[in-house]
């Protein structure tokens, strides 16, 4: 223990397997996703107001999710959850601009990506986190997203 300062400190990863699984199962498909015909058609039928409300709900829910995570999670899952939140942020980061500009076409383009990501995240949580004690908590939160 005394000599430990001399050796370069090794990185200890709390959840390396989970992160690897995350990259394989969520991140890669998400980055490859281009469009989904069914969802696009579904969004064409919706009115502008409905699309706007939908997006606003997602923004609200995401912030709500982060707040709740902050107040409740107090353990070593932080880095995995950070990865999840970062991808959601990636999907939502243009939405605020579009809302301000009332650019409904762009909003329609962003939504399928977000839905796809949400589905992948839920699948990932189901497959990988089932045996962790945070499973129910995390699952409920992302389900509401």
């Amino acid at each position: 223990m005394i000599f430990r300062k001399d050796v370069p400190m090794k990185q200890v990863d709390f959840n390396q397997e989970l992160l690897d699984a995350f990259i394989e199962q969520v991140q890669k498909p998400y980055l490859k996703f281009t469009s989904d015909r069914k969802l696009t058609m579904y969004l064409q039928i919706k009115s502008n107001q409905e699309v706007l409300d939908e997006c606003k709900d997602h923004l609200d829910n995401f912030f709500q999710l982060q707040r709740e995570l902050y107040f409740q999670i107090n353990n070593t899952m932080g880095n995995v959850l950070f990865a999840c939140c970062a991808l959601v942020a990636d999907a939502l980061h243009n939405v605020t601009d579009h809302i301000l500009n009332l650019d409904f076409e762009s909003l329609r383009a962003e939504l399928p990506k977000f839905w796809f990501l949400k589905a992948m995240l839920l699948k990932y949580i189901d497959n990988n986190l089932e045996h962790h004690k945070e499973y129910d908590l995390v699952k409920n939160k992302f389900y509401k997203l």
């Binding site: 223990m1 430990r4 370069p8 400190m9 090794k10 990185q11 200890v12 990863d13 709390f14 959840n15 992160l19 990259i23 991140q27 706007l52 606003k56 923004l59 609200d60 995401f62 912030f63 709500q64 982060q66 707040r67 995570l69 902050y70 107090n74 070593t76 932080g78 880095n79 959850l81 950070f82 990865a83 939140c85 970062a86 991808l87 942020a89 990636d90 939502l92 980061h93 243009n94 605020t96 601009d97 809302i99 301000l100």
Partner: protein
């Protein structure tokens, strides 16, 4: 035969000490991580929730903003919160050449961003409703939160970085993400 046994015993003992060291290291990190969270709660969350941030600059600045400015600032900060997270994430995870994904820093990042989300979470609503007083209040809160978070990162995470080049980059990007704002205050 006796020699053989001695050798295997030695190998096993080495293996066990190696394991023990690893466990100790991991425990150290966990303890350190819990301490970081504890400090965050005490030094960022507490003053923020109790409204004990007294910075005349922030209040003066926010009160002097026009309605138009309030709106642009709110949108910019919402966007920055999202972009900060994705930059932080894609920097640490994708770019293996410059930085190793660091579980402690990543967890703390989540806490920092989530904490700011508390101040931001009503903004989309206010923007759509054109509720300027609400925006003003939220912006004030947000600047206070950001001020505290930045202070915290510089105070505690910098210490942790010393002597470890990889970590240095990891926090550096975190700090930059918080500091690199279109509107400083």
């Amino acid at each position: 035969m006796f020699l053989m046994r001695k050798k295997t015993v030695k190998v096993r003992r080495d293996y066990i000490t190696k394991l023990e060291n690893r466990i100790a290291e991991e425990n150290d990190q966990r303890v350190f991580y819990c301490e970081l969270i504890q400090k965050f709660r005490e030094e960022v969350q507490k003053p923020y929730l109790k409204g004990q941030v007294h910075s005349k600059d922030i209040e003066g600045e926010v009160n002097s903003l026009s309605d138009e400015e309030l709106l642009t600032r709110a949108v910019v900060h919402l966007k920055e919160n999202f972009e900060g997270q994705r930059h932080k994430y894609f920097d640490t995870i994708q770019d293996d050449y410059f930085s190793v994904p660091d579980s402690i820093i990543d967890s703390i990042s989540l806490i920092c961003f989530a904490f700011c989300a508390d101040a931001l979470h009503n903004m989309p609503h206010h923007i759509l409703e054109k509720n300027n007083e609400g925006l003003r209040f939220d912006l004030l809160q947000y600047y206070q939160a950001r001020y505290l978070v930045l202070q915290y990162i510089e105070k505690y995470l910098k210490e942790y970085m010393e002597g470890t080049p990889d970590y240095k980059i990891a926090t550096h990007t975190l700090i930059e993400n918080f500091r690199m704002s279109e509107f400083k205050i």
